[in-house]
Symmetry: C2
Subunit: 273 residues, 2 copies
């Protein structure tokens, strides 16, 4: 049997009772660690589960999925993923492969940022399309997500912006040399996201007028949602460049039309600077 078990958002105790029972009976346990991060390390999980845990990086999950699956016909194999199993395309792909190989599988759901984001008081049914903001480089500055923010906002919908994570990304040099070398992990802060958005706004406003979004638009910055030291801030996009929300993971919300209850709730997170 192949299990994909969501670990939730923060620490070892966010696993469900059902998930924990399964992990304890498994023969082999992989921990996927490149589409998100948990606020615990492998050792803490190992202690909680009293089991050996193999880190499954991008190479293992995307290129050697068969290696993870091959034993699952006879043994109990678990892939632990941060958040919910269906947060990343990769996991859908691996389940499809299991299905094709006739390997029985079970999914253990958990919280993901997509529903936990409700903790800022914005109603989940008022969110539009989710977007991802990638790290810009000196030569690559995509901005296609910006139109989606505007489109949501024009319809009164909030936009959850997932911020880029780079874990075990091969360096450009290493791809050319065909010898793998990795960049240090990078997690986008709300500051970088705000800076990139302001730059897009700046570029746009040279040509067009009448945006429904500007540097004074109030946004919500979120950090480490689900953990005991989570932080939420409600301030203008311009101020968002300067706030300090601490360690990753960060997310950003560009709200649409606020209802009274949403506004009341967000008020508690207003920037006091």
């Amino acid at each position: 049997m192949f299990y994909i078990i969501g670990l939730g958002l923060s620490d070892v105790k966010d696993i469900t009772v059902k998930g924990l029972e399964i992990v304890k009976k498994c023969d082999q346990i992989f921990l996927e660690n490149y589409t998100s991060i948990l606020h615990v390390n492998k050792e803490e999980l190992k202690m909680m589960f009293n089991k050996k845990i193999t880190l499954a990086d991008r190479d293992l999950v995307e290129q050697n999925a068969d290696e993870i699956l091959c034993n699952a016909k006879e043994k109990e194999i678990a892939l632990l993923v941060i958040g919910d199993p269906f947060g990343a395309t990769t996991h859908t792909d691996i389940i499809l492969r299991a299905k094709e190989k006739n390997i029985p599988y079970q999914i253990i759901h958990n919280a993901s940022i997509i529903n936990a984001v409700g903790c800022c008081g914005l109603q989940l049914y008022s969110f539009g399309e989710i977007i991802s903001i990638p790290f810009w480089t000196s030569t690559w500055k995509p901005d296609s997500f910006f139109e989606k923010i505007l489109s949501n906002r024009l319809r009164g919908l909030h936009t959850l912006c997932l911020l880029d994570i780079k874990v075990k990304e091969p360096t450009l040099e290493s791809i050319m040399k065909k010898k793998k070398e990795y960049m240090p992990p990078m997690f986008m802060t709300v500051n970088t996201a705000a800076t990139q958005l302001l730059q897009i706004l700046n570029n746009f406003s040279n040509g067009e007028q009448g945006h429904c979004l500007d540097e004074e638009t109030k946004c919500v910055g979120l950090a480490r949602i689900g953990s005991s030291d989570q932080k939420i801030i409600f301030c203008s996009l311009k101020e968002m460049e300067k706030v300090d929300l601490g360690k990753p993971l960060h997310s950003l919300i560009i709200p649409g039309k606020l209802q009274i209850l949403e506004e009341q709730y967000l008020h508690q997170f207003a920037n006091s600077n």
Copy 2:
């Protein structure tokens, strides 16, 4: 301390380890049971927690929230909710009240239909605005959600349709008599949802042409997501009227533009009739 603890989607073991530890130390436990349903009864939860559990219906949660909160200044009080604590506006409202009364609170997240719906293979970042389809009566047939489905679909986005639940709803007569009498619980099936949508389509097509949605549009029907007997079906809206997905809760998805992986994944749920 006031805790709102998500129970997840299906059975007693979907609570997180952290949630279970908190429940076990609480002095008083309420179970909210009108915005969703769990596939277990109060007795099973009682056995799992070894605690007395008070059912909190709409009246108690919405009108007597202060009653739940009043003891939380000195005692440990938990409100258990199905799915994630922020799935329903009601829970946001009660946290806001706790905040106003200076009552410390903690949220324990869990899976909700909003993220677990990824189990059908549709990618969560390709969903647009979530809608709710209410039960029609002979005189009240709202259809404002239909424009939202079209708007999502025109942008290539999937629409998750949450289907109406009526638990402990006062009868019209009882409201007039000012003596509370309740209707039997009702849970909308994908069949009823499909019938109502087809009727809206029918009404529209008398006037307008060129809809991006018709009775042949392939949709996804989902039942009891997260439980061991969950069912998913991928068929036309017309066929959706006739399928049998069994017991509640049901949800319906009107897909937007399907990516290859999504199409491959959905294929396994194709209606074989």
